[in-house]
Amino acid sequence: MTEPRMVEISPVTRVEGHGKVTIHLDAENRVEEARLHIVEFRGFERFIRGRLMWEVPVIVQRLCGICPVSHHLAAAKAMDMIAGVDQLTPTAEKMRRLMHYGQVMQSHVLHFFHLAAPDLLFGFGAPAEKRNIFEVIKEQPELGKRAVLMRKYGQEIIEATAGKKIHGTGAVPGGINRNLPIERRDHFLASIDEMIEWAGDAVKLAKDYTIEHEELVAEFGSFPSNYMSLVRESDGALDLYHGNLRALSSTGDQIFDQVPYTRYHELIVEDVRSWSYMKFPFIDTLGPEVGWYRVGPLARMNTASFIDTPLADAAHKELKAVTSGTPNNSTLANHWARMIEVLHCVEKIRELLNDPDLQGSDLILSGERREEGIGVIEAPRGNLIHHYKVDEHDQVTYCNLIVSTTHNNEGMNRAVKDVAVKHLSGQDQITEGMLNHVEVAIRAYDPCLSCATHALGQMPLQVELFSADGALVDARTQCV
């Protein structure tokens, strides 16, 4: 019997942003409590107030350097509403969609190959010095090359539509400020088939891992939950840019469906807990205990009726078959779902590149001004909500952001506890490899902690071990 302890993982690595995990062990070394703490503070909702409405899509995208396009477009959609534009011109909507598919593609590729692949290829308990992208490139150079070139392709799509690979200015209230010149289109078309082939191979890699590690995937950080995402208005298909809200239970029962996202505040309540700056949203009708839900690639695979691109749809059907069409509750299946979305994105990019509307010149519309705007999009990490109010002088008076990682807060905390209980309970010595198991569970959600809270200071992810009397027993601060 030992003294009760507390383990701290700090920082959690290979995630975007900063956070830490604390694990409380009792005198028998059993895990009593495990939490993912987000100790950063995000001030965007406050300091955007007073700024001019057309500045908002450019300012709020600075929340993040990984998926700024998602914030840029969600804010632009909200500003479209305020500008009185309910339907963009075909060129504007398709340019925005192209930007978004490039964004989701590059972000997913970044996560799967650069952040998650070291765990999947070398094992969760592999030596820390082995678990990085450079070792992946050394051992599998072709895979490493594809990781770099696929991400480059997505980044160049963003540059062509927003002017810069990171933090561009493409979307403006009511439309877009550019079209796609023929020469840029031809540049992208030259390698799109190769991208589709590589994306297909990535789906196979993720699927094979999931099937070959069936037992691990079934138990590792897995638990039933509700799921929520946008789906296409007409038929419930996967739609990353626009649609209505759909939520399903862990067994596939409908909680709500085809609800316009402008009514999100009637459906979702944000709970606050004292130990984290990140809120805990839940579905109002179900309450905080059972109303929490997950978003992101796997959630979208669960909620979408089908995918409107053939290769991704076939892959979607394969994933759904694993659970006989009911929602897949395995946290690690997120990687498979993520690669199916990459395939969907490159198929959509090919479809759009062949659409002459991208060379149109009708870019920006205006309409009857409104005071309030809500923009919702499916960001790489899941559903993203932007809500603003603007006064008669064009100045923002109210802002509320619910980002993907915030939606997943309860899910990530449950995954952390699940893995901690299974892999740390009863252990006298807590090794770095054991702690990495906890990080793997968090990483499966590809959390963007900076988006969820935003940093004002330094707080990278860490793991802490507490004793039963609350004393800090052990702490680890990890660096990549």
Binding site: G50, E55, P57, V58, T169, P173, N177, H393, D394
Partner: protein, 242 residues
């Protein structure tokens, strides 16, 4: 100074390049015509010269003078592109950044901003050496078509001269002294004045930064097509010599 030309000119040199000038022309006017660019911020074509920003400082006859107000003189040897002068200009520009709140990444003037462009031209790339003053100035969005974000104002006075001399209105003026001097409007706010979006003072070319904002057109020009995406500030003048 309009620079009325006489029948016969005279010559002087700028960094060894022979330049022709006419009586009454300033060094800058003659340099512009000859395709020699002298950096400037408070000076603007069509407005009377003010000589306050000192970014156009050159050495003439061993003295530091403002090229926008100093008359050209026959046989004079003017120094312009020297390491010493460019360092002094860079320091001046850096101090302008420090006196205001210039957040280029989120400013709609980015790419069209003369202050930003001047910083690029003068290679202002090193870590800052001056303390940020971080003034707290409220944004004036009271006017239906124009907004003023004086956090970005560099007190060049171009809007003051444009409003007084071109528009005949006097909407803008200086208030305060020394470090506290700033541009203010002739009323409680801009809506309290007779400002109009058609005024020359409100045009995007008069304000060199993102202080005077035409509402609801921000970011409509894509990256790559903004004024200084095409070349360094002054490139149009320098291209006259090519």
């Amino acid at each position: 100074m309009s620079g009325t030309k006489k029948e016969t000119g005279f010559s002087f040199t700028i960094d060894g390049v022979e330049v022709t000038a006419y009586a009454g022309q300033t060094i800058m006017e003659a340099a512009d015509e000859a395709g020699v660019y002298i950096p400037r911020l408070c000076d603007h074509e069509g407005l009377r010269h003010q000589g306050s920003c000192r970014v156009c400082t050159v050495k003439a006859g061993g003295r530091s003078v403002a090229a926008c107000t100093q008359p050209a003189a026959p046989g004079q040897a003017v120094e312009n592109e020297t390491a010493h002068l460019n360092k002094m200009r860079r320091d001046l520009v850096e101090m302008l950044f420090h006196e205001g709140n210039h957040l280029c990444p989120i400013c709609e003037a980015s790419g069209n901003c003369e202050l930003q462009a001047m910083a690029y031209r003068l290679d202002m790339t090193e870590a800052t050496k001056f303390p940020y003053l971080e003034p707290c100035r409220a944004l004036d969005a009271s006017h239906p078509d124009i907004a003023l974000d004086t956090n970005r104002c560099i007190s060049c006075g171009r809007c003051i001269r444009a409003s007084q001399d071109v528009d005949g209105k006097g909407i803008f003026g200086y208030v305060g002294r020394g470090i506290h001097r700033r541009v203010a409007v002739n009323g409680e706010n801009l809506a309290d004045t007779n400002a109009d979006s058609g005024d020359h003072a409100m045009s995007s070319e008069v304000c060199p930064v993102g202080c005077i904002i035409r509402k609801r057109v921000g970011f409509a020009t894509p990256i790559g097509e903004r004024e200084f995406d095409k070349g360094l500030i002054g490139h149009e003048i320098e291209e006259k010599r090519k």
